[in-house]
Amino acid sequence: MKRKLEISELIFKIISYTLLTVFALACLYPFVYAISAAVSGRSAVEYGQIVLFPKDVQFDAFKRMFSDNMFWNAYSNTLFITFYGTVWALLYSILGAYALSKRRLLFRKFFNFFLVFTMWFAAGIVPQYLNYLDTQKVFMSVGITDDKWLVVIAMGMAAMNIILLRNAFEGVPSEIEEAAIVDGASEFQVLSKVYLPMSKSTIATVALFFGISRWNGYFWARQMISNSNEHPLQVFIRLRLEEFTDAEAMAGWNQPYASDSVIYALIVCSIVPILIIYPFIQKYFAKGTNVGGVKE
């Protein structure tokens, strides 16, 4: 009896470890390959000799990219959009969520529905596009000509994040708020001195969700930003990938690196900042999904 138990558990353990290892390596491999292909010599890449480790190491593909002003431009545009976009979205989301968490708010059910309905029904790409065109005109007329501000202000709202915040605020014990009011705190002080400190981790999670979606934003940035100096990194990468076939056919391609390596170098450069902050943000990410799972 005892023996049988051990065998079935052992087999399952072996299967788990094997398949997990395979899957984990499959998750890791493309990154390792991208790095290797970015720093390998031209013939090694073109003849498909790179499997895991780089061959005939060169850094010219990286050098070429770092010397490209458009690359740095795109990077700074992405940082701009991510920073201001997150701050703006957090600002109205926190204020709105705070008001929504108050039971004494009149028409509270209506406001909640107003928010939740946008999760059920989205107008779609074409109406959204027409709307952004109008917004662009309005922004132009008040002197905002930089389309980055359009991306920052008019995009990236998420009802789900506001609901996460609202739930967190509702979880703050009302006695603490009452104590603060007795001490003479105003509405804004109650929010900033009581609610914000007490729901720090949810705010961090929501900020992370906003930030990641801003960093990754592509489609609307490409549709709405016509000036290539204002393109964020994601649009820059995609345009490079689309031009890539032309570059490959370019006559007199006479470099020590393959044209593939440039794309891989670009991919590596866009992942590295994420990888650097990854260990710090990972716990908030895990928390966010749990919060999302046990809503009531």
Partner: protein, 350 residues
């Protein structure tokens, strides 16, 4: 003491709602000047309503105004005039798409079918993977080893869609053995899983391979991250449950069947319903970044159809009508799924 008129509504803890102040004087007054009293109640808490305004405006401008623009699907498309001044055209676009009988209609139906097929496959193959991963994570008793595995499998989730698709495009790229063929197509060809010709012409240029590439890259990207929820449910199971099952002579499979599965069933059901609810909300960005003219047959979904005709082309009315149908079906799925979730588990998703 004379009741203050502003207090015509009293908050009732028990029912979590307002009821009117029972004092007759107040009640009469309220009946006469309802909106005046609403105004006074708002004035008393004006800071709260000020806080609400930015959020309401943002959603009004960029979520609700587009819904108004969506009315363009009932109007004769005219680029110059605003929607309100365009001529009403009834359901002509819908008719054209649904029963037009021409190429456009066939293309729309193809897009509709592809949307369903792609999301259905995504559900069938993508949904069980995170659960299986979570079960496997549970087998690793060492915390450090498990964290390493988890961190590695979450990793692809942190890439943007653009970077992820760029990587996929590069890995299955066309070419020959001497001109930088993608490493994955190369490997598949040498394993004999795909023919050399197919690999040379690039997997993403072949309609038969779009769906597998789309689904597998989706699993690769999301399975690790999606397993977090299930893993949290599994580690919440008390060790004594396993011990009791072991004493009763349950092997590993029996423990899975009678201990683990019942404990995480509610999580599975909730996640499944969420997935079904967003079935038609297929990530058009990813399709757009992976497809090309040679794979429209299997890859074109309603959103990309609308994008092609409405944004790249000028058939805004047709495109809006297509999206309208997709969105309405999608909304019915969400509301249906949510109703079922509420009935089945007392957990409403919204």
């Amino acid at each position: 003491m004379k009741a203050k008129a502003a207090d015509f509504l009293i908050y009732d803890e028990a029912t979590d709602s307002y009821r009117e102040n029972p004092e007759q004087a107040v009640r009469d007054d309220v009946e006469k000047h309802y909106w005046l009293h609403v105004g006074r109640t708002i004035l008393k808490d004006w800071r709260l309503y000020i806080m609400l305004i930015p959020m309401l405006l943002v959603f009004l401008f960029w979520r609700y105004f587009p819904m108004y623009e969506l009315l363009g699907c009932f109007k004769v498309s005219d680029e110059v005039l605003p929607v309100s001044q365009q001529l009403f055209s009834g359901f002509s676009y819908f008719k054209r798409l649904l029963v037009g009988g021409d190429d456009l209609s066939r293309e729309f139906w193809r897009a509709m079918r592809n949307t369903f097929i792609l999301s259905f496959y995504g559900l069938c193959f993508g949904f069980p993977m995170p659960i299986i991963l979570a079960l496997f994570f549970n087998e690793i008793k060492s915390n450090i080893a498990r964290s390493v595995y988890q961190v590695l499998t979450y990793l692809p989730k942190f890439m943007s869609t653009v970077v992820m698709t760029s990587l996929v495009v590069m890995l299955v790229k066309q070419g020959s053995l001497t001109s930088g063929m993608g490493i994955v197509s190369q490997a598949l060809a040498s394993l004999g899983w795909v023919s050399q010709d197919v690999a040379n012409s690039g997997l993403l240029n072949n309609p038969a391979f779009f769906r597998p590439v789309y689904i597998i890259s989706g699993i690769w990207e999301g399975a690790g991250y999606d397993s977090i929820v299930f893993f949290a449910a599994i580690i919440a199971i008390s060790p004594t449950s396993y011990e009791a099952a072991q004493i009763d002579g349950a092997g590993k499979m029996a423990q899975m069947r009678y201990v683990v599965l019942p404990s995480i069933l509610s999580t599975i059901v909730i996640m499944l319903i969420t997935r079904i609810g967003s079935l038609l909300n297929i990530g058009y960005e990813k399709v757009l970044l992976l497809y090309n003219t040679s794979t429209y047959v299997t890859a074109d979904v309603v959103s990309t159809f609308a994008q092609r005709y409405g944004l790249a082309g000028a058939a805004k009315g047709i495109a809006s009508a297509a999206e309208m149908m997709n969105n309405v079906v999608g909304m019915l799925l969400v509301i249906g799924a949510n109703t079922i979730a509420r009935k089945a588990s007392d957990v409403s998703l919204y």
